[in-house]
């Protein structure tokens, strides 16, 4: 799903420093935040919103669509399972460095409750001009402008750069979809492509991948059948193999996850691949012109 301003958002960890800062930013931008969670401050008010002991308790009190987690790694599993059991449609998990066994249990809880998890280790989702959920600079109008391009990124910082490049070239965005930098994420690049392909306001998609894993190869299979133009950039061409490049997911071991295999798979699927992010708007324009012709 794409976040909309009518979606009711719960913030887990709302009273912390980052939870407070980003909740305010989300409210100011237009996101409908309806409450927060902190078991130690249940019953109080924060930023004019009710604070609950758990997401399940919040859901008993009011309707919820999305939960966003400002929760430290060791507490993330319990919080995510709580959100899944509360019956939200989507959990946005920003936390990085959650133990992998916990992540697997989170995904199991999501599957059994029919909940979509975005992340872990995502920077969140932006619907420019409407709302955002997470830790993206949606409010910076140099970076994000309403428009017709969907952007998918494993990395928040690269997603910011690419959105900036688009805005600088006159392309606004219909939605930014941060899928996350972890090896086991709930919504992968292929899922995000599917979501943006189904979205009527999206005319073309930019896919920002990186080395490691097989997300780009899998996304390429789906892109091959899409009629909307897809342009990709893959970070990590100059990165040495065998080294974890910050993201737990960004490591090349053997031939698996290497730049060349990702680029070849995308190009074979008809996706134009940019060498540097500044080429993305040029390739996008070519793709859209070809489609119009």
């Amino acid at each position: 799903m794409i976040v909309r301003k009518e979606h009711k958002v719960l913030v887990q960890g709302i009273t912390g420093k980052q939870g407070t800062f980003w909740t305010k930013a989300m409210q100011d931008y237009g996101t409908t935040v309806v409450g927060g969670v902190n078991p130690k401050k249940a019953g109080s008010q924060h930023l004019g919103l009710p604070v609950y002991a758990t997401a399940v308790e919040a859901a008993r009190d009011q309707e919820l669509d999305v939960s966003v987690m400002f929760i430290p790694p060791m507490a993330a599993k319990a919080a995510a399972i709580d959100a899944c059991e509360a019956g939200v449609k989507m959990v946005v998990c920003l936390t990085e460095h959650i133990p992998a066994h916990d992540v697997m249990e989170m995904h199991a809880a999501a599957a059994s409750n029919g909940v979509r998890i975005v992340g872990p280790n995502t920077a969140g989702l932006v619907t420019p001009g409407e709302c955002f959920v997470g830790i993206m600079p949606a409010f910076n109008s140099n970076v994000f402008q309403p428009g017709e391009i969907g952007v998918i990124s494993r990395s928040g910082s690269l997603g910011t750069l690419v959105s900036l490049n688009l805005t600088q070239s006159g392309f606004g965005q219909s939605a930014f979809y941060g899928v996350g930098g972890d090896p086991m994420i709930g919504t992968n690049s292929r899922d995000a492509l599917e979501i943006l392909n189904a979205d009527e306001s999206t005319k073309a998609v930019v896919l920002c991948g990186e080395i490691g894993g097989s997300a780009e190869e899998s996304a390429a299979e789906y892109a091959a059948a899409m009629s909307k133009p897809v342009v990709a950039f893959i970070a990590g061409r100059a990165s040495p193999p065998g080294k974890k490049m910050g993201h737990a997911g960004a490591i090349v071991s053997g031939s698996s996850g290497a730049y060349d295999s990702k680029r070849a798979a995308l190009e074979a699927a008809g996706v134009a691949v940019a060498d540097v992010p500044s080429q993305i708007p040029v390739l996008l324009k070519e793709g859209l012109d070809r489609k119009a012709a």
Binding site: L94, A100, M245, G246, A250
Partner: protein, 377 residues
């Protein structure tokens, strides 16, 4: 984090999996003394890599003097970048059959996976590649676990005969150990059936999830030291990830994706990145220590700062960086491109305090840094 065999095996024993009698030696005389106690033995290099056998780091000895000679040859050897400091002197067992067993995190199913093969030993990777059917892959649902019934189903038709029950028991214990240890990979290769009907783990490979180290603190302390340069170690101590890349254009950016992209752009425009170093996420307040680590690399001829703030506030990063830059006063040119959260304030700091105009386009900043590095070379 990875563990040497002599650290991993006691963890198997704790889970009820049998291993041969053994002891650790860091010199040849001790190796001989251990061999005198345990008889016919194997001398095994203790390094966290799977290439020990092929590199000559594992030798059979049928006398204490032979064990001593092997220990002398093996200690000090370099295997896959690791210097051998210790050898494990382990009792030989009568091998009837070599099997393979492992449990790992499967990214595709987002669940654990148990692996088993009747064809264990040094060439198991080739076996798995040339004859995929020889490697059984058993998906496990993490919330359901892996019990004896599941293990017996997994082994059905393997031809283990009377040993099936005992091997199934080992698989269950291996899975339990994997869960308790927060392992990414727990592997026994070979798992041997002996001629006197025992099931024994002859080797053990263990990788524990770094993110789990807060709750695996005791075991994490025993992890094998990673091979890294002094600077990489210093960065790690400061909570930063630094990788030396050998070029002349220094890179400081926030976020792994943006940093890799910056390195790619430097390469695209004909330069060579000097390093990977990012101060994104929770590390965005560490600009000063990051800069001092960068500048210890004497091959740097120019520095490129690329901030694209989302969670990481560019004003906070820039403030720390500019203060450190003024304090350290390095004799190289610096180039900025700054966007995202806190951008206006960050640009103002750079202009007012350094008298430098940040580039609006990343490509322009990259080209300038590459040109400056080439001119200084």
């Amino acid at each position: 984090m990875n563990f040497e065999e002599y650290r991993a095996k006691p963890l198997l024993v704790k889970s009820g999996i049998a291993v041969p009698d053994s002891d650790l030696a860091s010199d040849a005389a001790t190796a001989k003394a251990i061999a005198e106690r345990i008889g016919n033995c194997v001398v095994k290099a203790q390094v966290p890599t799977g290439k020990r056998g092929k590199a000559g780091g594992i030798k059979l000895a049928s006398s204490p003097d032979e064990a001593k000679a092997h220990a002398e040859a093996i200690i000090g050897m370099e295997i896959d970048g690791h210097r051998v400091e210790k050898v494990l002197i382990e009792a030989q067992v009568p091998i009837a059959k070599e099997l393979y067993a492992a449990v790992l995190n499967d990214a595709l199913s987002k669940n654990p996976m148990v692996l088993f093969s009747m064809m264990g030993g040094m060439d198991v990777e080739e076996v798995a590649e040339t004859d995929p059917d020889a490697m059984r892959k058993i998906p496990v649902e993490i919330t359901k676990g892996f019990d004896l019934a599941a293990a017996r189903r997994a082994l059905e038709g393997c031809g283990l005969a009377e040993a099936e029950q005992a091997v199934a028991d080992v698989l269950v214990r291996l899975y339990q150990a994997y869960r308790e240890l927060d392992a990414e990979l727990l592997e026994i290769n070979p798992l041997v059936l002996t001629s006197d009907d025992r099931v024994i783990a002859l080797d053990c490979k263990l990788t524990i999830d770094d993110s789990a180290s807060p709750r695996q603190a005791d075991i994490a302390e025993q992890a094998a030291p990673e091979i890294m340069t002094e600077l990489e170690r210093k960065a790690q101590a400061a909570g930063l990830k630094y990788i030396a890349l050998g070029g002349s254009v220094g890179v400081l950016a926030n976020g792994a994706g943006l940093t890799m992209t910056t390195m790619d752009a430097i390469t695209h425009y004909g330069g060579k990145p000097a390093n990977f170093l990012e101060i994104g996420g929770e590390a965005y307040t560490k600009a000063k220590i990051a800069l001092s680590i960068l500048l210890e690399n004497t091959d740097i001829r120019s520095l490129l700062v690329n901030f694209c703030g989302a969670f990481a506030r560019t004003d906070v990063m820039t403030e720390g960086l500019v203060a450190a830059w003024k304090e350290l006063a390095p004799d190289i040119p610096i180039f900025f491109t700054i966007h995202g959260t806190g951008e206006e304030e960050a640009v103002k700091i750079v202009k007012e305090q350094l008298g430098i105009e940040p580039f609006d386009l990343m490509d322009d900043a990259v080209r300038a840094a590459v040109t400056a590095a080439a001119e200084a070379a």
